[in-house]
Symmetry: C2
Subunit: 243 residues, 2 copies
Amino acid sequence: MNESGDSLYPAKWLSKASTGERVTCELRMRIISGLIESGTILSENKLAAEYNVSRSPIREALKVLANENLIRLERMGAVVTGITEKEVEEIYDVRLLIETFVFERLVKIDTAELERELNKILEMMQIAIKYKDADEFAFQDVLFHETIIRAINHSYITMIWNNTKPVMESFILLSMRMHFNEKYDDLSRIVKNHELYIDAISTKNRDIMIQSLHQNFDDVQGKVDDLWMSQQMLSSAREQEKE
Amino acid sequence: MNESGDSLYPAKWLSKASTGERVTCELRMRIISGLIESGTILSENKLAAEYNVSRSPIREALKVLANENLIRLERMGAVVTGITEKEVEEIYDVRLLIETFVFERLVKIDTAELERELNKILEMMQIAIKYKDADEFAFQDVLFHETIIRAINHSYITMIWNNTKPVMESFILLSMRMHFNEKYDDLSRIVKNHELYIDAISTKNRDIMIQSLHQNFDDVQGKVDDLWMSQQMLSSAREQEKE
DNA sequence: ATTATAATACTTGTATACAAGTATACTCGT
DNA sequence: ACGAGTATACTTGTATACAAGTATTATAAT
């Protein structure tokens, strides 16, 4: 029925994805970006009609999104929860928590290979900056942290990551797209900070690691406000349309 | 086709559950108990036939179990991962991690209502012991920790809990059933330890909390060995059947 | 005997159909 | 005008059907 605009989620990341995964990613982006407002009630049938698919992939998507705390499955309809500033902080709480845990494991093992991998990702990030590819930059940013987390081979920490990653990815994606053209110094600061992170890992220095983690948080936190502002703008724009 | 024995998961906990949830809980118990061995390849069709349901609830169950790291969804068939001693340790890593985090929040807020709630649960546990109701005891044990974790209203911490809880619950359930009749002193030790936990919360004393958490871990760890032993017994019994 | 190829039986992912239950709206009685 | 009760249109959960793809097995050729 209504294709309602282009897709927010990078098509190239969905090359091998099933319909269910596509819908999941797209809905997630719409919710996090604020395009679908908090409080909206989603119905399987309507979504199926909107995306021109059957209810099966839609159901799948809703289950996943409910697990990510983006919607709340109720008797009739799924209520969009969305994410507020509070949720963003909470996600970063979790990231701080697990990355701190991970670091404690990393100091006990050989991290040479990991460092190599991280440096590779760092160079990729720089290329992404050079070619002004916000999506690629976001991808590598997320990959950076994923690589660290996976390095300790801890299935339940990985599980936590798998559950927080999608929201984080979408959030960073939107945030990067918004900032990429304006704030070049922000980007280099992010890269610098990732370098610091690698340093912390290689020297096994807790203080540097904590410093880097908090720096990273602040970097993101700064962007959060802008994202919310733009959401507000979106919302008020819609409000005006209605009138 | 094959109902293969009774259900492991308490029927009374499934009063309002859908077929999908029932299948999920039952499969989870079978996997964790070792009744379904690691390495087994599950097929949606076979499971559907076995449980006399359609593929829809089975698919749902497999998605959930994959998220809990109990199976691995592959091209063809779902490979049972199961849980080894390593996984149990890892689950408790996570619980330690999040409960430590939670405690840091709890010291900052008024916990009077929480303490009341926890004491209620504690009394329930004692009744469960009195009437030798292992399942109820397990239920209250899990509820105890859930209550603490939910108290800080942290959506992503809650999310982590939601994802680890089912496995933990099943594990504790099996463990309790195995030990309930033999080791009465174990049970009172568990209760004592929970009292200690409440103490830690009310006095906002970190040291007591850590002590209690580790104690709790040791309690479980002790039981783990037995559970594995019994799994081994199960396995070897099956081996012999085959011959 | 071994290898290449083709047929078959199984797999998942999606679409559709059906059943049971719930909210909304409407009608009828007062 | 207003409330009780019914009809209707929606909701989810499950079952079934279909399509596309993959492993396996059997057959045929060398």
